[in-house]
Symmetry: C2
Subunit: 774 residues, 2 copies
């Protein structure tokens, strides 16, 4: 009994502060998918090494089987945030398993012989995790362990619960109050879970060799698979992953709840609390997960375990269902408690099994001890949920509830019905979904959803951090400042590449072009020799000094290549002076420097090794003899990696004055149709930010230049360094070249998502470097 | 003979390019001073340890005696630059020897018994330097080795010499040409040195026990010292530091020059080339200083050795004499050569000795073999020098020559005459000069002359670098970027405290106040609780949240205390909004945080140790019952350490609107006369940059706060860190306090030159840290 025996709905109605906090809460999701090969066979490969030890990575582990990946989101304080985390994990895992796929159904794919199903392997072959899985294999068989699903963890916000406790004038501690609250919510969930199962059940279809004995109302299909006739969820049915006997617990008080479970353990029906396969569990993350631990520490959150993987959603669950489930739990909090003794519990189990096996037929439901029609039962629940949504004036939820009401009316709109309706067959249908989802994940590989406001370089490093199981704290989003931790090892990082591994002065050296050039030159590294002038007379007088070499005359700070004159061959004093005049018309200072013929390359040097090498090519299109330049630009800009404002790894090519000018200098207009194979440049400069192409040449360029870049980074003592080199011919060593710049904050997305070439996984390289991961 | 037998004056007249380069050259000075105690006794203390090993410090060594400091400037390309270097060395050495003084005369001070004069001590007691000095002591006696003087090293610019060689159509190599040139110049110098001696001789006075036998025309004076009657330079006389026999060399050609010296060595008259105590030497710094080395490598520069210390100049020599000497050498280059055989050499030696012993009587001089009057001889030389000055239209030089002409006419205007004219006596006079010069050096201790455009912190570190004998390269003056080197150990430094010893991320953490606060708070360190706002509306809406506490409103990244409002007591929404407006006018983000009562302290932590602690007191004056606040400010601003624009360690107190407002808040006006002892604040903020006082409390504040500062630096992994702590009562541990900021680029001049308290020598601490000097 709650302290003040008031109706909570009434209290909430009158307390706006409480009402505001009602939907505050903490969310966590755990999702399992088995890995399959391209034909839908269970993958027999080991858990990918990139994820590190499954004992240590908190986000990406295995469940029962080595082939069964479990993705665990961090605890989030909103549905959006937790869903983003799940989506990111889905994208990351999909990206990293490549030649394999994530099987999108709770029922297993094509399985090998029972003995060939691999149990998860741990560092310590005698670890508790391993031994427990071996026990499960013996006790229940391996195949049934491959049922995969989603666990939904939820807690109300502490502020809300404390405010509620005060409002109810409760004398008990907050923890005792929580125990009471969550027990009430759990009971309500047990009573009403049948409807959530109706909505989310998604395992009516399975393969003939999965079950050892046929399920009730099992039917064979033309597509060589089996279906539960009118069924919704094999996984949640009595043939699913359940305790052998129904183990009812006592919901009267927290103490009685604990005592009742203790009885089952004492009787040997279950080994420990975690073997009690209830659809909802009371949990505390700060304990050893033992019953005694829970009894001692009290309930921190509840875990819902009955959600099937939704094969129609890339992430196995929709955001709508997350909201609906939260509303269901809140409704449980606010509703008056109904009795839930053994009989009621048996009836609720029966409700669940009827939905699982026969849900599409809308079987009768037991509600408050009476058997009533499915429609009546559904209406009763949805009505009480609507009251809560109305109370908080939550239009989105009301709309959502209207949709579920529609699904309640029309079983053919359930997920299960849609799965059964698909004619492709169990394996082909799910493999098609898996492949589509992989494509989507790869298209989003460059970004971390929910963090798109941060720089792409930062998103890439954060993704690698998740991949490798590091703890992440964002310290200052706007500044791209974050902290990573692996056990006791902490690293602070700003903008992906500003780390503890470079000294402050090293960054400052690179920031200062004069000092950088001086140090490089002292170390025998070619830099463009040159001189600054802010006085045209002095510049004119330097003619003799430069007359015998190819030079560039340019304004000191200019963009778009304006005001630049290049003299590759002999030139007169008049040519020279004309060039000075032009340059000075753009800036009060000009530079005359040696002209180095060639293309611009970015060498990314990390830890004294080449991490990636890009050739930067100015924005361009290649003619096909059919389309205009303008059309060719449009076509090239369709690439999903091309965006604007640095939100994507490549930038769209613009059709601005600079591009038009560049075309006209070559005798083109935007409406011209270049010949097939004709390369047309839209820019003089090769920056990626003005639509340039990034071509990965890491494996092509001569090692001479690689050694040069490594040396340049070394002389300024830099461990993460972008070295820009002009190279005349990339495959010929010791050709004309010059280092034009060292960058202390090199972009990494250009190497991870180049226009041409492979993903060099710079985020991984940085993290491995920072955390000494071999 | 020069290649084309032309008159060089004529060539120069016709070649403007050559004329422009004529005064280009490289200069170096070496100056010796013996150290004395406050009574004028030779100091018997060891060479100060702060200068490191005399074998290694290229700027500050000892000469013959352990008590005889030698200052060696780096090679500079202008008279101004070399003079600045000398002045800096003089200031540095003076500052560091403190309870001792630099004796400002070439003749020694009061000496102990011969056997107690300490010969310079080296790491290796058998080192060549030590053995050579022991040889000198045996050969010449120790006392005479204490003659101190100035060596002037000069070379023409290579560009000039090469252009001259080409103009003269010389077929010889540049080096052969140089050998010829410098031999010509040296010969001219030998012929005319008597006049330079007349101008610069400054050792006519000495103490009775100095010479073992009386000098000619020696007279006793009432002041218990001895004088050369009409004499100018004991040091340059025949009783000075000379070879026992006149060793003439052959100036006909470089080969003959070498051969003639070899003869003296072979005959045993001298031990090696360096024992040939000629007034001018031909040298090459890239050799082992042997005759064979010089013969092989050729002449690089010439060294003039006859300059006495000028006791009327703090630096022992005037800039005018540096210019005059250069002009003399140039005149030697351009003049037609006169014969200089043995007879001429003997006559030139006689000239020198006559000036040294009897110069004030203007003795006859031998010029071109004939004995003529002093006036005639001086006129001849000055006229030829004037021709050179006229050729180059150098008005300054012409003016300088007019001055020297005047001195030539009036012997009483010579330095020597002025020394003789002083009635205080040899020791008292020179001790008074020494003390005056020390005061001057200490007043300039905060700056490095010639580098005043760089930050004070940088100047201080550079001074310490000179003190400790490190090689210095200024890489980017405007950016205060420089490089230090000690043997193979190179350190790059920007702005004194940005070094290789801090990681890049550590600086970035400190730069970000939000991140810093978060990390400090996580580590249990008290920080002001607060909040950031980048939106003024959101900031306004936070009024209720902060209304009941004392707060500070400030721009997120601020300097010099600008834009900060402090509310210690109740304040209105209007006050609050006004403060927001002010803060937002300085930055797009602002911080509102709890105000911590107390004073602001800056803890400078270097290498995990406290380097200095300052209390910062807002600009203030203390009443005397007589003067107005305005007058008290003027008086306080007279402190030579107070300046403007951060050019000095303290800033002048202004009388602007902020100060007037602050006064009015206390009920004062500028024209009020505060009572005696009444402290009146002119500023709320305690920044030194707005006239605040810096009070060194390193030895006063409770260790609790010192440990706190060290811990704060440690948690952000910073090795050079300014920790700002508000402390309520500095002697009481664990009192109210909060760390308000960590600074990654802390000012160091405030600890080195505080308003009250001692110089904490932060430059030394930084260099010792960077170079692992114990």
């Amino acid at each position: 009994m709650l302290c003040k025996n008031n109706n909570l709905m009434t209290i909430l109605e009158e307390n706006n502060e409480l009402k505001k906090m009602l939907f505050d809460g903490n969310f966590g999701l755990e999702k399992e998918n088995v890995r399959v090969d391209k034909n839908g066979n269970l993958a027999l490969t080991p858990h990918p090494a990139i994820f590190g030890l499954k004992e240590e990575n908190p986000y990406i582990k295995t469940d029962f089987s080595e082939s069964q990946i479990e993705m665990i989101t961090p605890v989030s304080n909103s549905v959006d945030a937790v869903y983003n985390s799940l989506e990111n994990l889905q994208n990351i895992v999909s990206d990293r398993i490549r030649d394999e796929y994530l099987w999108p159904n709770s029922n297993p794919p094509m399985l090998p012989a029972e003995e060939d199903i691999p149990i998860a392997v741990y560092q310590d072959p005698q670890s508790a995790s391993r031994l427990y899985r071996e026990h499960l294999a013996r006790e229940y068989g391996k195949k049934i362990q491959l049922f995969s699903g989603i666990h939904y963890n939820f807690s109300f916000s502490d502020e809300f619960l404390e405010a509620l406790r005060v409002e109810l004038d409760c004398k008990s501690s907050l923890q005792a109050f929580k125990n009471q609250i969550y027990l009430k919510v759990a009971k309500f969930f047990m009573q009403n879970r049948w409807f959530l199962l109706y909505l989310t059940g998604a395992s009516p279809l399975y393969l003939p060799d999965f079950l050892n004995s046929p399920a009730a109302n099992e039917v064979s299909r033309e597509t060589s698979d089996l279906a539960l006739k009118n069924g919704i969820s094999l996984r949640n049915s009595h043939v699913g992953y359940k305790n052998k006997a129904s183990l009812h617990v006592n919901y009267e008080s927290f103490e009685q709840y604990i005592a009742s479970i203790q009885t089952w353990i004492d009787s040997g029906k279950i080994d420990s609390m975690r073997e009690l396969y209830n659809p909802i569990r009371l949990k505390n993350s700060h304990t050893d997960q033992s019953l005694a631990g829970l009894a001692e520490a009290g309930v921190e959150y509840i875990e819902i375990r009955s959600l099937d993987l939704n094969p129609f959603d890339p992430n196995g669950i929709t955001k709508e269902i997350l909201h609906f489930t939260q509303l269901l739990l809140i409704t449980g909090l606010l509703s008056d408690s109904e009795p839930f003794d053994k009989t009621h519990q048996e009836q609720s189990d029966l409700n669940e099994d009827r939905i699982a096996i026969d849900g599409l037929a809308k079987p009768n439901m037991y509600v408050e001890g009476a058997e009533i029609s499915f429609d009546e039962a559904a209406n009763k629940l949805l009505t009480s949920m609507e009251k809560v949504a109305t109370l908080t004036q939550n239009g989105t939820l009301l709309h959502l509830l209207a949709e579920q009401r529609d699904i309640a009316k029309h079983p053919d709109k359930t997920i299960a019905a849609q799965i059964l309706a698909n004619s492709a067959g169990y394996v082909p249908f799910h493999m098609q979904q898996a492949k589509t989802y992989l494509d989507g994940s790869l298209q989003n590989a460059y970004k971390l959803i929910g963090y798109e406001d941060m720089e792409l370089s930062t998103q890439i490093v954060l993704k690698s951090a998740v991949t490798k199981g590091l703890a992440i704290d964002i310290l200052d989003r706007a500044e791209n400042f974050f902290r990573l931790q692996k056990k006791d090892h902490v690293e602070y990082i700003k903008q992906a590449t500003k780390t503890s591994r470079d000294s402050y002065i090293s960054a400052l050296i690179m920031e200062n072009k004069v000092v950088t050039k001086e140090i490089l030159a002292e170390n025998g590294i070619a830099v463009p020799r040159g001189q600054d002038f802010s006085d045209i007379v002095a510049a004119r007088n330097s003619f003799a000094k430069f007359a015998d070499q190819a030079i560039v005359v340019k304004p000191k700070s200019t963009n778009f290549g304006l005001g630049i004159s290049i003299f590759k061959d002999a030139y007169t004093k008049e040519n020279f002076e004309e060039a000075l005049k032009i340059a000075f018309s753009y800036d009060s200072s000009i530079i005359i420097e040696t002209y180095i013929p060639g293309d611009e390359y970015r060498f990314l040097v990390i830890d004294g090794k080449i991490a990636g090498i890009l050739k930067r090519v100015p924005a361009n299109v290649t003619g096909d003899g059919i389309h205009t330049i303008s059309e060719l630009i449009d076509d090239k800009n369709l690439d999903p990696l091309r965006g604007t404002d640095h939100l994507k790894p490549l930038e769209k090519i613009l059709k601005g004055p600079e591009e038009t000018l560049m075309l006209s200098m070559q005798g083109y207009e935007m409406s011209d149709i270049p010949a097939k194979g004709q390369l047309v440049y839209l820019r003089e400069n090769s920056n990626i930010s003005t639509g340039g192409d990034s071509i990965d040449v890491t494996d092509k360029i001569h090692p001479y230049y690689q050694e040069l870049a490594i040396k340049a980074a070394k002389v300024v003592d830099s461990n993460i360094c972008g070295v820009d080199i002009i190279v005349s011919r990339e495959t010929i060593p010791e050709g004309p070249h010059a280092i034009i710049e060292l960058n202390f904050n090199p972009a990494i997305q250009i190497h991870s998502f180049p226009y041409q070439g492979e993903n060099r996984r710079i985020g991984d390289i940085i993290i491995d470097f920072l955390f000494n991961i071999k």
